[in-house]
């Protein structure tokens, strides 16, 4: 994948779950080598959208193309790293044992384990059982797993939730440096102030894209500086159009 172009292209994506439409025809792109923030309140469909990208979600319609292939294509399985909202690692194994196993599944070099443990700042706890770690530490083990094999696209579902501010800053620095090396990052959050770290934003509300663009573009459109306020204004604007 070249640095130019789109890492992800979504066209008319619809997802129906339990007879209810969760995503109503999403059109969106994620620029390669960028950090794109997927923002929206809880229940807006962020997780469902991310699951579509990694190919674990049954979709009702539309097209999702990831790194030039249809989402879920077997060829993407080593090229996309995915972190679910709740840490998906084995609590009855140590940090290193978890990562060694996932590295074996991904066909990543054993030396990669040490690299990712360092990247998420868990060297001190590498030989501890995941079950003995705090929630934030477990989340970082889960993140480390997604970094194995240096995937071209990272899909992160609320990776910073519940972390203390210092750790959050460290993780955003990590994301920024990964993006600088060419990794595309799509990260969801319901905290608007995380939007400032992103080059592009995708605002999701009730299963539809409310707006997408760079933070500055969105600020300009809404005519306010504060990103939280931008979101409010855009919601009001879209409600007004619906009524008109």
């Amino acid at each position: 994948m070249t640095k130019s172009g789109d890492a992800v292209r979504i066209e008319g994506l619809r997802v129906v779950r339990g007879g209810r439409e969760i995503l109503h025809g999403i059109d969106a792109t994620v620029a390669a080598g960028s950090i794109t923030g997927l923002l929206g309140p809880s229940g807006s469909g962020k997780t469902t959208l991310l699951r579509c990208l990694v190919g674990v979600q049954i979709v009702a319609g539309g097209r999702v193309e990831v790194l030039g292939r249809p989402a879920g294509d077997p060829g993407l399985r080593t090229r996309v790293g995915y972190v679910t909202q709740s840490p998906s690692v084995y609590v009855d194994l140590t940090v290193t044992e978890n990562l060694r196993y996932f590295a074996a599944v991904l066909g990543a070099a054993a030396s990669d384990v040490d690299r990712v443990v360092g990247q998420v700042g868990l060297r001190q706890r590498a030989d501890d059982l995941v079950g003995s770690l705090s929630g934030g530490q477990r989340a970082r083990v889960s993140l480390a797993t997604a970094l194995l094999g240096q995937p071209e696209l990272l899909v992160l579902d609320e990776p910073t939730v519940g972390l203390d501010p210092l750790l959050r800053r460290d993780l955003w620095e990590l994301f920024t440096s990964l993006a600088a090396d060419g990794t595309t990052i799509l990260v969801s959050s319901h905290v608007m102030d995380e939007a400032q770290h992103c080059q592009r934003l995708l605002l999701l509300r009730d299963g539809s894209v409310l707006a997408q663009g760079s933070p500055d573009e969105l600020r300009e459109r809404a005519g306010v500086d504060d990103l939280e306020e931008v979101f409010v204004r855009l919601i009001e604007a879209s409600a007004a159009t619906v009524e008109a």
Binding site: R17, G18, V54, G55, V56, Q57, I58, G72, P74, R77, T78, V80, Y82, T84, S86, P87, S88, V89, Y90, V91, D92, L93, E97, Y101, F102, A104, V105, L106, G107, L129, T145
Partner: protein
């Protein structure tokens, strides 16, 4: 499919078991303890113990393995590790065979201990070879494990998973020929028992009890048990879905 991923999975599952010594103890001790109780219950009925000892030696590990395995993929699903693995280059059979190998190792220890105990201190007398009793026992345990893994894919909660045992295992236990000879059962039940795998598991043990020869009927029994175990694993892999609602 990849042998490297399969063995990595087996090692990972054994690593998890190692951290859970109580489960290991239960897996190994429970079938052995049940044999002791059986011998005790039949203190003055040596003949009866010899008669049902070997079949029971096959049934206990089958049941225990079924229960353990039926929670396995459910656990992976609930912790989200299954979804993560399915986004990775892992074949669904890699996962199930990995479990099968890990539980197979446990089955060898489990059946080894209870067989040695039954044939040694408890004085179980069989016409055939003790090694054959051991081999059939391991095969039976593997059958239980494979059926458990298959049904695990259908369980949405621990409550459901645990209920599969009485639902799937008990009816087979009743009509497999352990309680009463199959040729004395109603034709319908006899017909049903013909297509249930535990029938063959128990039949193999009954043959080794009464005959020292390794005949064709015995071979058929063992092949059926092994084939059903393999089919259950393949079906289990087919029922795991990468995409879910």
């Amino acid at each position: 499919m990849s042998a490297a991923i399969t063995f990595a999975t087996a090692r990972r599952v054994l690593g998890q078991l190692r951290r859970d010594p109580r489960t290991i103890a239960l897996l190994v001790v429970v079938p052995a303890l049940l044999m002791v109780i059986l011998r005790w219950v039949l203190t003055n009925q040596r003949h009866n113990f010899d008669h049902i000892g070997a079949p029971v030696l096959g049934v206990f590990p089958l049941v225990v393995m079924f229960v353990v395995a039926s929670v396995a993929t459910l656990r992976e699903r609930r912790t989200g590790t299954l979804e993560r693995l399915l986004t990775m280059p892992l074949h669904k059979l890699d996962l199930l065979l990995g479990y099968a190998i890990a539980f197979g190792v446990v089955a060898v220890v489990q059946v080894g201990v209870s067989t040695a105990l039954a044939l040694g201190p408890l004085g179980l007398r069989v016409a055939g070879s003790g090694w054959l009793v051991f081999g059939i026992g391991v095969l039976d345990a593997l059958l239980g494990m494979a059926l458990g893994l298959l049904l695990s894919a259908f369980a949405n909660s621990e409550f459901q998973a645990v209920q599969f045992m009485p639902a799937v295992v008990f009816p087979q236990l009743l009509i497999c020929g352990l309680l009463t000879p199959r040729n004395q059962m109603d034709a319908v039940l006899h017909g049903i028992s013909d297509v249930l795998p535990m029938t063959y598991a128990v039949d193999a043990m009954q043959r080794v009890t009464t005959s020292s020869a390794f005949g064709a009927a015995m071979a058929v029994d063992m092949i059926v048990v092994a084939a059903v175990a393999v089919a259950a694993l393949a079906l289990g892999a087919a029922t795991l879905r990468r995409r879910t609602a």
